[in-house]
Amino acid sequence: MQRINDDVLNKCRDLIENGTCDRVLAWEEGEFCYDVTPAVFTGDTLGKMIYDDFCAANQSKYLIDESHKEGRIAALLKPCDTYSFNQLLKENRIKRENVYVLGVPCDGKIDAEKARGLGIKGILGAEIDGDTVAFETIYGKKTCSKKDVLHEKCLSCKGKKHMIFDELTDPEKEPETAVPENGTSRFDGVSKLENMTAEERFRFWRGELSRCIRCNACRNVCPACSCRQCVFDNPASGVSSKANTNDFEENLYHIIRAFHVAGRCTDCGECTRVCPENIPLHLLNRKFIKDINELYGEYQAGYDTALDAPLTSYTKQDAEPGIVHERGVR
């Protein structure tokens, strides 16, 4: 199966040849077809560049460092990546003039693990075709329903429209507005948790978080977790490398992280995608997003680069702090 659309590849080659950019941020192949990694390519290595239905990673975070290097980089950004890109622009983390945003279309990305769960093993390639996915495996061709093998983040896709770009590789595919993939049910998982009793919810999270091995993958991949030095790595913060007296303190790491990214999280879903223990971390962030929507009105981080955000601006209509208690006791 083709690993990159010729038009996309040619576009990148053009950008380098006409001097617009000197490098490209895309993906490179790993040992297996689904084992793809974000990587930077120059004119010489462009041939190794891929972009297909396995390329799920959010590329925006890499642009913090890349945009501060000399020259200009072309970045293949999916619609959801552009939300994070905007958010990072707003936080002055990315040098906009050093990035050429090449908006690439996305039909959702395939989670090879989910496919294996369905018994589709020995995957050699895959391609999304409408509502189904065609797999090529060492045991022959197999197909399954698309929704059964998409990443969690793609099942609650915010829409196929790029929030920011310099150029689109397929302008005809670009929708007028961002239409959520499955309506408003993005918060179904959160509502389910909210309907639990405090005790049930506590048990749920204790159970989920008990699997955490503290690999820090969620933090390292998160575009909102992009501090020069994380408080968990800073000896002066008083919390780094602190010997946890019990596993509850360990669990708190995730709660603190959710607080740190509250109001800035674009719900890109990378935390859940990279978690080797399949902890549904996105639920923590979505709880914040849902609360913000309910308390301060609909807000989507990264929708634009306007400076005011509900948690860092004050309006006279803001909810009084007491609401936290009122909502807590229901």
């Binding site: 002055n92 030095q229 408080v231 913060s237 008083g238 800035r264 860092t312 006279k316």
Partner: protein
């Protein structure tokens, strides 16, 4: 390692009554850094302070913890004590074992346990304290008064009298405020206009006072001594320089539909109008909502008739920027809306009026030229019922829980004046209590009852219903324990008063706090009643709480005295407990600047050396003179780059750890 002394105060029996002070002192003796502990009956007294000074010297203390009352009460006292003994004043920590401990605990063991914990937290924090030095800033020798009622006018006059310049910003077209609407004033019954208008004229004539009428405060930045204020001057559409105040325009205006605000809507005014005869400035204003010319482009009769050529339809809103050393809020009050009090029929019966409307009906310059006539038919009322506490002392949620304070006295005044002018009129007053604490107040009320024969009925009115052109008032007389039915011609409601709604916006701009009833909060209810908790912001008049004219004038002068005290200083010592950012940790993300209520954070491009790696980074930079040390930035900063001197994250965590140990 610090050498810490712990001083436990008894506060007489305030603390010692529910806290075992000796046990507190002995329990913390083994805490890290503690080398000396003691307890004393009154630590704030000269004896107690002397004990602290001696201990600092004798034991070579590097810091002290005083376990006493709230730091708002005596932190400054003990800082001075420490300084006198050679310590840096910021090496003092207060453990509040009174307000937050002894006063709220009944059980001595519990109180003692908590006091020990609070003391340990303060010790843990002090172990991480560093000496701090405050910077200095200049003082702009000019004051701003927001509101041009009697409170604002009096404050401005007193400040001007001391030789300082002062601006009054008044949102309506004239100064004078509520008092200008009143007829007579209690307890002397002199006419409000006679005592107010000379002050209005004085304010206008003073070369130190500058009036911005028909203007509003748009934005406030800066800090004590150095406020920067944007004032929005709304267009009057009349050139004040050219206008002679002849008033011809107001007579020619064909638009007559706007309710006259000054007369509480009892009659109408033109689109171009002067609120009242003694208005200052005596310049008309055009109401753009009502003006036919501004709405349709046709008319312009005022312009044609103005011999001074003062009408200017092209006037635009103007923003003026001024700097001030001090700001006084004098935003006043309004009567509450009576929509929640259907039982009195105010909304659907013209002859049910508020007391402020009665003031206008009794006033010689009012809609009836001072003749008391019913609004419905212009007839003279022969039986009048006053209902007090309409919306005051109301815990049902319909009105206000507080006493509006002025209603008992003005109702007595109204009753007395009506009986005096129209002896054929019967006057009944329904009351819950008659409250007359004030000089000559009770004598005044007794005159109403004893000399003027006003019928005071203890009890509330349940219903006012219209019947054959009369108002049937059904109430209860609690003293004779019977139902009362009165057929009245006029019912007057003593509506509760509430802060003018503009105060919310102004409080936000001034970062001054307001209470649950929207009254501005004073820095200390007893000891600092005219200062707001925000340095450099002072309170004058009803914006701080209900008060009558004598009290308002007294508070206005008190606020002026505080302003004069501030403006007389050449330099102000700042607060060293300010935020600062760690340039190696700062992401430059701007979140701290977004939440800073004082605009104290800027960004600079600075070359930093991050472990040998040199690069130019965008980092946060705090203006220490502007920072008030609120700490909003420190909790917003995701990387922990922002920290607050004197309240560092590590100090707070050390306190929490000490409490949880």
């Amino acid at each position: 390692m610090q050498r810490i002394g712990v001083f436990v105060c008894w506060c007489g029996s305030n603390i010692a009554g529910t806290v075992d002070v000796e046990k507190v002192a002995s329990s913390v003796a083994g805490e890290p850094g503690v080398v000396f502990t003691t307890n004393y009956q009154y630590m704030c007294s000269e004896g107690g302070q002397g004990m602290i000074r001696r201990a600092i010297k004798e034991h070579g203390l590097t810091g002290i913890v005083v376990c006493s009352c709230s730091p708002r009460m005596h932190e400054a006292t003990f800082r001075k004590t420490a300084q006198a003994a050679g310590l840096n004043p910021y090496m003092v920590e207060i453990a509040n074992i009174r307000e937050q401990c002894s006063w709220i605990h009944k059980d001595k063991d519990e109180g003692t346990e908590k006091a020990v914990i609070l003391a340990k937290a303060a010790i843990a924090k002090l172990n991480l304290n560093k000496p701090l030095t405050a910077g200095e800033s200049n003082v702009t020798k000019r004051a701003l008064v927001i509101g041009g009622g009697i409170a604002g006018i009096q404050t401005a006059l007193d400040i001007a009298d001391a030789g300082y310049e002062v601006d009054i910003v008044e949102k309506s077209p004239t100064i004078g405020g509520r008092m200008a609407q009143l007829d007579k004033t209690f307890p002397t019954l002199d006419c409000a206009a006679c005592i107010l208008t000379p002050k209005m004229v004085d304010a206008a004539a003073s070369d130190k006072i500058n009036l911005y009428t028909y203007s509003e405060v748009e934005a406030v930045s800066g800090f004590v001594g150095n406020f920067k204020v944007k004032i929005k001057k709304k267009p009057r559409y009349v050139n004040s320089e050219l206008c002679s105040g002849c008033g011809v325009c107001t007579e020619k205006c064909p638009s007559r539909k706007a309710p006259n605000e000054f007369n509480m809507g009892l009659n109408n005014r033109g689109a171009i109008y002067i609120p009242f005869a003694q208005a200052i400035p005596n310049v008309p204003v055009i109401d753009p909502e009502q003006c036919i010319k501004l709405k349709t482009g046709k008319c312009g009769l005022c312009e044609k008739n103005c011999t001074a050529k003062a009408i200017d339809f092209t006037q635009k809103e103007e923003i003026i920027e001024r700097e001030y050393g001090a700001i006084v809020a004098a935003t006043g009050y309004r009567p509450i809306s009576l929509e929640n009090f259907d039982e009195f029929g105010y909304a659907h019966n013209k002859d049910v009026i508020t007391s402020l409307e009665l003031e206008r009906l009794m006033n010689a310059a009012g809609p009836t030229k001072g003749v008391l006539l019913r609004p419905s038919d212009g007839e003279h009322p022969h039986e009048i019922v006053f209902i007090q506490c309409v919306g005051s002392r109301d815990t049902s949620g319909c009105g206000k829980p507080y006493c509006s304070k002025i209603c008992c006295m003005y109702t007595a005044k109204h009753a007395m004046m009506i009986r005096d002018k129209y002896p054929d009129t019967k006057v009944h007053v329904f009351y819950i209590d008659v409250r007359t604490p004030g000089k000559n107040f009770d004598e005044f009320y007794r005159r109403a009852v004893e000399e003027y024969g006003v019928d005071y009925i203890k009890g509330m009115v349940g219903k006012v219903a219209e019947k054959d052109g009369k108002l049937l008032v059904q109430g209860s007389d609690l003293i004779s324990n019977e139902q009362v039915h009165i057929e009245a011609d006029l019912v007057v409601l003593a509506a509760a008063i509430e802060p003018d709604p503009s105060v919310r916006n102004i409080a936000t701009m001034l970062t001054a706090s307001i209470d649950t009833n929207n009254f501005l909060t004073e820095a200390h209810p007893k000891l600092r009643p005219v200062e707001s908790p925000t340095a450099g912001v002072f309170l004058s008049g009803v914006c701080q709480g209900p008060k009558d004219i004598p009290e308002t004038v007294a508070q206005a002068s008190a606020a002026a005295a505080k302003v004069i005290g501030l403006l007389s200083k050449d330099k102000l010592t700042g607060n060293p407990c300010v935020a600062h950012s760690d340039e190696l940790l700062c992401n430059g993300c701007s979140q701290c600047a977004c939440v800073c209520p004082y605009g104290a954070i800027d960004y600079i491009d600075k070359e930093v050396n991050d472990h040998g790696k040199r690069e130019v980074r965008r980092i946060a930079s705090v203006n220490e003179a502007v920072c008030q040390g609120c700490g909003a930035c420190t909790v917003t900063c995701p990387s922990g780059a922002m920290d607050l001197k004197g309240f560092t994250t590590r100090q707070i965590m050390a306190e929490v750890d000490a409490i949880c140990r």
